[in-house]
């Protein structure tokens, strides 16, 4: 995402030392000692060291690293389930480490909801009661919270399961409840700690897909933890790579893959089969029909109705893409007795090269969901990508 985007959470110089007398750990760190040496000398664990990053409004930020790299510690410092040893975490102007107990409670209720690796559903509460939990403790009236919880259960595809108990559901469904519980709360930030890591690979792909859709629909600022690079590449707008409690690289999935910051990142991405990074080419379909620049509005209308389209791309004789005509505009032009369509096509659609990564396409679909045009360097129309095809292709890639 772009730098101009507004910052939701600003994290600066965040460090965490586990053990009694954590300041000692920071001193040793400042003397240049690393995690294992500090542990050997003092028994203190340097969980996180000098972490700097921003979470942008509306993005899905992935924090990735091997087990023990400090991911859970980092995400728990954000809402102070773990007390940071030093550093700033600023959300909407509030510095979280400075908050009093009461302010912290308020901050957690307003800003954060969390999804856990092993679901952490309350086993004595029904699905509906689980989803209501966040609202209930905030004192939201009974009807209102029931309504909101039902809505969020519907969003994750669990309508009809309200009265079930969590242990009656499969793992995938349990985590949907976890997600619904988080969404119902309507907090500004969603924290997900290895939320899909406990699920079967197939279910996991489905959940990633659904999270992507939800996220694009709701533009919910999300911090997502994973140890799985494929998952990170699939869903992340940006990825932060963590190693031994330090950040080694921050970047888009493409940047991580194409410009690995150091050997560690390189080794991390070695396992990724580059051919499996899906692009627009994978999901592209041939164009069913195009209009020619000298077609009259009546011809264009007929082409659309014959092919069941409600919009059509206009190309020049060399198949260069000129614009898009919508059925209403063509209809209007016919009624006004116009002889050509040059005045009714527009450029208000997304246009990508064939190598554009598939997950970038999501954000490009406009409200009217025009197919995305795929063009070569000379702007010749190669094909189109419709929304469903992106999902289908991504889902399929999970199967092998």
């Amino acid at each position: 995402m772009t730098d101009t985007q507004s910052v939701k959470i600003k994290v600066r110089n965040l460090s965490k030392v586990f053990g009694s007398n954590p300041k000692k750990g920071l001193e040793l760190r400042d003397q240049g000692l690393k995690r294992p040496e500090i542990f050997e000398k003092t028994g203190l664990t340097l969980g996180l060291s000098k972490i700097d990053f921003d979470v942008h409004e509306g993005e899905l930020l992935v924090i990735m690293g091997l087990s023990g790299s400090g991911k859970s510690t980092l995400i728990r410092c954000l809402n102070r389930l773990i007390e940071p040893t030093e550093g700033e975490i600023v959300i909407d102007g509030e510095d979280i480490p400075q908050l009093s107990d009461k302010e912290l409670l308020e901050c957690r209720r307003r800003h954060f909801s969390m999804v856990f690796q092993n679901f952490a559903l309350f086993p004595h509460r029904t699905v509906q009661q689980n989803a209501e939990y966040g609202l209930e403790i905030r004192g939201v009236a009974k009807e209102e919270r029931a309504e909101k919880a039902r809505n969020s259960l519907k969003q994750v595809g669990l309508d009809g399961w309200e009265d079930a108990l969590p242990n009656q559901l499969s793992g995938g469904m349990q985590q949907r409840v976890g997600l619904a519980r988080a969404l119902a709360n309507d907090s500004t930030v969603l924290l997900m700690d290895e939320a899909f890591s406990a699920l079967d690979p197939l279910i996991r792909k489905d959940m990633q897909q659904e999270l992507l859709e939800l996220q694009h629909r709701m533009k919910k600022t999300t911090v997502f933890i994973t140890h799985d690079l494929d998952e990170a590449l699939n869903i992340g707008d940006r990825i932060i790579l963590l190693k031994d409690g330090e950040i080694v690289q921050i970047g888009t999935p493409e940047q991580i893959l194409t410009q690995p910051a150091d050997e560690y990142v390189e080794r991390f991405i070695e396992g990724v089969d580059m051919s499996r990074i899906l692009t627009a080419r994978n999901a592209m379909r041939p164009v069913r029909a195009t209009a020619r620049e000298d077609d009259g509005p009546r011809t264009v209308l007929r082409k659309m109705s014959e092919n069941g389209l409600d919009s059509i791309y206009v190309t020049s004789r060399e198949r260069k893409l000129l614009g898009l005509v919508e059925v209403d505009a063509a209809d209007q032009a016919t009624k006004e007795g116009k002889q050509d369509i040059s005045s009714v096509w527009h450029q208000d659609f997304a246009c990508v090269g064939p190598d554009e990564p598939l997950h970038n396409l999501f954000a490009m679909f406009s409200e009217k969901s025009f197919p995305i045009a795929v063009v070569d360097e000379d702007k010749r129309l190669l094909g189109v990508v419709v929304k469903g095809a992106v999902l289908a292709e991504l889902a399929e890639s999970g199967d092998n």
Binding site: L81, R108, R109, S113, M114, F116, A120, P123, I137
Partner: protein
């Protein structure tokens, strides 16, 4: 040179003397209240015709545990009645119920507090070990100077002896709640009270009930022993049988204790589920 014997017993007696003289107002008040409670419960249980109480207990058993316990309970109680041990049985039951109520109402808050405070936990656990491993009838001795011979002393000793499991299991139950659930409750911004009422207590309930079950069993065994300091009930029947060397009477009373214990045990175990 010989090392002198430590006068531990004298010290304890001195302490007890001090307590009984200084706090006699308190102990007498407690004594009066407890005595009234015992008599009230005892009288109302006695006032019910035997078959009504039998039917009520059978009905309760059927509700919480099913037909088998209902039949067993009815048959057992009928046997007690037939052996003419009904009144002593009621007296024992009264003592058990009151001692358990007192023990549980102290144990729950203490157990919760110990679960939430590491420091209290560390000081409390050795005390509980002490309370539980001290031979049961040692408690009977200090009870007498405090509350005199009789049922109140029996309740006092019984409460002390039977309380530890209820405290222990309450603490255990709350500490056993998975950290992830505590984290979830915290992450959504629960206050300590909300966390306790909505997550920790409901999830520890089966464990707490197991503790209460043990408390009841210990209370029953203590109430029988308390016959030595003049408590009424089935223990008294056994005691008399010993003094008169009548093993038959003693076994009859003993069987009545077993029946009562089994009914109470199965009932409270069924309540856990």
């Amino acid at each position: 040179m010989e090392f002198p014997r430590i006068p531990l017993g004298q010290w304890i007696e001195g302490g007890l003397d001090f307590l009984t003289s200084e706090y006699s107002v308190v102990t007498r008040a407690i004594s009066r209240v407890t005595q009234t409670g015992i008599e009230a419960l005892n009288d109302s249980l006695m006032w019910l015709p035997e078959w009504v109480l039998m039917a009520l207990i059978a009905l309760l058993s059927w509700k919480v545990a099913g037909t088998r316990l209902a039949i067993g309970a009815a048959a057992g109680l009928a046997l007690i009645w037939n052996l003419e041990l009904w009144d002593p049985m009621i007296e024992s039951l009264t003592l058990v119920v009151i001692a358990t109520l007192v023990a549980v109402s102290i144990a729950l808050p203490v157990g919760i507090a110990a679960a939430l405070s590491e420091r209290l936990y560390r000081t409390l656990m050795p005390v509980l070990d002490f309370m539980q491993t001290m031979p049961a009838f040692v408690y009977l001795i200090p009870a007498i100077p405090f509350f005199g011979i009789g049922s109140v002393s029996a309740i006092f000793a019984t409460v002390i002896f039977s309380m530890p499991p209820a405290i222990r299991f309450t603490t255990l139950g709350i500490r056993q709640v998975p950290t992830e659930l505590i984290e979830a409750a915290d992450a959504f911004g629960s206050t300590r009270k909300q966390k306790l009422l909505k997550v920790q207590l409901p999830l520890s309930l089966p464990t707490v009930m197991a503790g209460i079950n043990q408390t009841i069993m210990l209370a029953l065994s203590m109430v029988v022993i308390a016959a030595m300091i003049g408590a009424d009930g089935l223990g008294n029947e056994v005691w008399r049988a010993i003094q008169r060397l009548r093993p038959g009477d003693g076994f009859e009373a003993g069987i009545a204790v077993v029946i009562l214990a089994m009914i109470l045990d199965r009932l409270t175990q069924a309540l856990r589920k």
